[in-house]
């Protein structure tokens, strides 16, 4: 499916998706509350069949935190990018997609490690790279480390 058809098809399932223009893949911003249901439909619909989550990463837009999902279909060879955002920087929460795409277990642990974004119903929500007792989330824009990071 090309991007236009794909967008039309996804707007049938999620009418309140907003597209971000001028990106390499079709990029849609979805509401965070319905992420899990929409993800199940994206994987299980035979004409969409997004069975390969090839990247999951967190982003820190200064006022919001977001998670970006890169999906690809191995059968139809189309790709899609999904973003979900939250304004809550103190306690950001999204639903996990581990039960849909198993690779998300490690990717969500990395997002938690670097950004502090927790995922509900994740089987093993703990840090993956840094030590267990590390304070702070390094990839946030407001991360302060007086010892190591030199501010000009």
């Amino acid at each position: 499916m090309d991007n236009e058809t794909l967008k039309a098809r996804i707007l049938e399932i999620a009418p309140d998706a907003q597209q971000e223009e001028n990106k390499q893949f079709l990029t849609l911003l979805l509401p965070a509350a319905r992420l899990h249901d929409l993800a199940i439909k994206l994987k299980n619909s035979p004409d969409l069949a997004f069975d390969f989550l090839f990247c999951l990463s967190g982003v820190d837009y200064i006022k919001q935190l977001a998670v970006v999902y890169h999906l690809r279909s191995t059968q139809h060879k189309h790709a899609l990018v999904i973003k979900v955002k939250t304004d809550d920087r103190v306690n950001p929460n999204f639903d996990t997609v581990c039960d849909i795409w198993r690779t998300a277990e490690f990717h969500e642990r990395e997002t938690y490690d670097m950004f502090g974004i927790r995922f509900n119903n994740h089987p093993d929500m703990r840090r993956i790279f840094l030590e267990e007792d590390w304070k702070g989330y390094p990839l946030r824009k407001d991360y302060i480390d007086e010892v190591n990071i030199v501010e000009f």
Binding site: F129, L130, E131, P138, Y143, D145, N148, I149, V150
Partner: protein, 192 residues
């Protein structure tokens, strides 16, 4: 063009050129006792021409080290015939790559397991001083000499294979200066 290309025989360096190195001259002039016996010359020649490294590479400098070991610039002709997987059997550890705080105790343990005489080459900007990660990283060790004592520093990001070969030659020159008669007073400053 046919007659001048591909006629590259490997020229070996003359011995006097190999010994002519101002860094090592400084060592000799400011160091300790200069009397080296002839047995030292033989032993040091043997040891310096067969330095076997430990298999250790962390990031991009490791790829460059592999390129130096491949066929175009070959460091087997300098004596690095084989990499030893066990630290007990290795002579030198070429720290090729970035060392993060999580890796630093592992590196220290490997260095401690190497048996004497052992040498360390810090290859690349990350191992020398933290490199590009010096200012803004929360987890990189700013230079591997915070963890283990270093003999030769090779700058570069990554250093070209020729630069790594030059660093290996510096190490060879350094080994040739050692004397067995008074090992506690070797001319290499700082090496206890």
């Amino acid at each position: 063009m046919e007659e001048r290309s591909f006629e590259m025989g490997i020229k070996s360096m003359k011995e006097k050129d190999f010994r002519d190195n101002e860094t090592l001259d400084l060592f000799k002039r400011t160091g300790g006792n200069v009397l080296m016996t002839s047995i030292d010359a033989v032993i040091d020649w043997g040891r310096s021409n067969s330095v076997w490294p430990l298999t250790f590479a962390t990031s991009c400098c490791g790829i460059e080290m592999m390129a130096t070991g491949a066929s175009r610039h070959d460091f087997a002709r300098f004596g690095i015939e084989v990499y030893r997987a066990s630290p007990r059997q290795a002579d030198v550890i070429v720290v090729a790559g970035t060392i993060v705080n999580k890796m630093a105790p592992v590196l220290k343990r490997l260095y401690d397991q190497m048996s004497e005489p052992r040498y360390v080459i810090a290859m690349g900007a990350c191992a020398v001083s933290g490199g590009p990660f010096y200012y803004n990283s929360y987890h990189v060790v700013r230079g591997v000499d915070h963890v283990i004592p270093v003999d030769v520093y090779i700058p570069g990001c990554p250093p070209r294979p020729e630069a790594l070969l030059y660093g290996i030659m510096q190490l060879q020159r350094k080994i040739k200066l050692e004397t067995i008669t008074r090992p506690e007073q070797t001319m290499i400053l700082g090496k206890q």
